[in-house]
């Protein structure tokens, strides 16, 4: 049995761990609220962008010189996966889940004989994927040290992807990220970005529908040429924001569990400590009494 001193030391150490996890939980909860607000604030823009893209895309998609970003390069040999993960750990299975999901995806694609390239956004995913797919990683982007990720950061990532597309470095681009379903549930999901998946309405809308009546200034092609990269950026921005919200949600849950576990551990250790203390007293008493009887 451990000595009293050792037990006391362990109790103090677990108590301070509990203090830390409790503080981290509070911080994560506060940041979660902010991240959720930011994710919600980005929604109107994304919705309207989608609507505009639907009406534009429907009118251009048929033409042979439609931009690559909309219709793809015509082949699907080289896949680019943009994997969005957290920059920090201590958030339960958050980073592992999305990284594993990406790993399965990469294996699937490679089994089909496709070439895979990985662009990692977030430090944790990069470390995970590097072990197995080190040679496929074409870039790493991290927002570590930034207080808040703004639209400009997302735009920088999107520009990078656009440049790669223009250089013909990939055919299909898929975004892998943790979709924020609720505070306690984040679902790793994949979303194809290039060729752009137009919202379902555009496919069903007849060419004579109200969308076909728009006038364009400058031409449709020119607008589309700026709108598509912008759409890419906003999708990226949304993924990054949802990732941030999911991260804090996951961290909050993980820290809540850790706090509870620490509490249980303290109870057990305290019980153990008290029993040991009593056993010691009893033993000493027996020693004294039996000593006195012997005399």
């Amino acid at each position: 049995m451990a000595s009293l001193k050792a037990l006391r030391a362990r109790i103090t150490s677990v108590k301070s761990t509990r203090k830390i996890t409790q503080a981290m939980k509070m911080v994560a909860a506060a940041k979660l609220r902010r991240a959720q607000l930011a994710a919600e604030a980005a929604r109107p823009y994304a919705e309207r962008m989608e609507r505009m893209l639907a009406s534009l895309g429907a009118s251009v998609a048929g033409s042979p010189d439609a931009p690559k970003m909309l219709v793809g390069t015509g082949s699907d040999k080289v896949h680019l996966l943009v994997v969005v993960t957290g920059d920090r750990g201590l958030a339960g299975a958050f980073n592992t889940n999305v990284s594993r999901f990406a790993r399965t995806k990469i294996r699937e694609l490679e089994a089909e004989g496709k070439t895979v390239k990985v662009l990692s956004v977030g430090r944790k995913g990069a470390t995970f994927l590097k072990r197995e797919f080190g040679s496929r990683i074409v870039g790493e982007i991290s927002f570590q040290g930034k207080k808040r990720v703004d639209f400009g950061d997302a735009q920088a990532v999107a520009t990078r992807v656009t440049e790669m597309l223009e250089a013909g470095e990939f055919d299909v681009c898929t975004l892998v990220y943790n979709r924020f379903r609720s505070v306690i549930s984040q679902v790793p999901s994949a979303q194809q970005m290039i060729p752009a998946m137009l919202p379902a309405t555009s496919a069903t809308a007849a060419p004579t529908g109200p969308q076909a009546l728009y006038e364009y200034e400058p031409s449709e092609e020119e607008i589309l040429a700026t709108l598509l990269p912008q759409n890419l950026a906003i999708q990226m921005y949304r993924a990054i924001l949802e990732n941030a919200a999911g991260f804090f949600g996951s961290q909050m849950t993980a820290m809540d569990n850790a706090t509870r576990n620490a509490g249980e551990m303290i109870n057990k250790l305290t019980l153990n400590y008290n029993r040991t203390r009593q056993a010691n007293i009893t033993r000493e008493l027996i020693e004294i009494i039996s000593g006195a009887e012997a005399v």
């Binding site: 109107p44 309207r48 639209f151 700026t226 912008q230």
Partner: protein
């Protein structure tokens, strides 16, 4: 006077959503006034000021750094890359951005024409920002 619904959104938030009488947009090919019943249009915007008229007076002026606008007879949606009310535009901030844009433009000599155009558009938007901030 008749009104239409004007919505101004930036990636970071919804800035404006209400019924107005007229809005003047800095469209890529010149200023464009939008009144209720305007023909459906999709236009790109350059850096400039959106002026909102309500009750016969300009009630709001917002600087946008570029973006898109979708106009329908009863609605106008502006997707701005970045939007700030003119009163909140800081002159120092705008000048810093202009310097940055000028440096980027000077460095873009060897880039593709498309990239140069993008940098040029940023530079022009920054110039407008400075002049607007000065006037305000």
């Amino acid at each position: 006077m008749a009104t239409f619904q004007l919505e101004l959104v930036s990636p970071e938030k919804l800035l404006l959503s209400r019924a107005v009488e007229m809005a003047v947009l800095p469209a890529a090919e010149g200023e464009m006034g939008v009144l209720p019943g305007h023909a459906p249009m999709i236009v790109t915007l350059r850096g400039g000021v959106i002026a909102v008229t309500e009750g016969g007076q300009i009630t709001e002026r917002l600087y946008v750094a570029g973006g898109f606008a979708e106009v329908t007879p009863d609605r106008c949606t502006v997707l701005a890359d970045e939007a700030t009310p003119v009163a909140q535009l800081s002159k120092a901030g705008a000048e810093a951005r202009l310097k940055e844009a000028e440096a980027a433009y000077a460095a873009s000599g060897s880039e593709t024409p498309e990239r140069r155009d993008a940098v040029m558009a940023k530079l022009l938007a920054a110039r407008v920002a400075v002049s607007v901030a000065e006037a305000a």
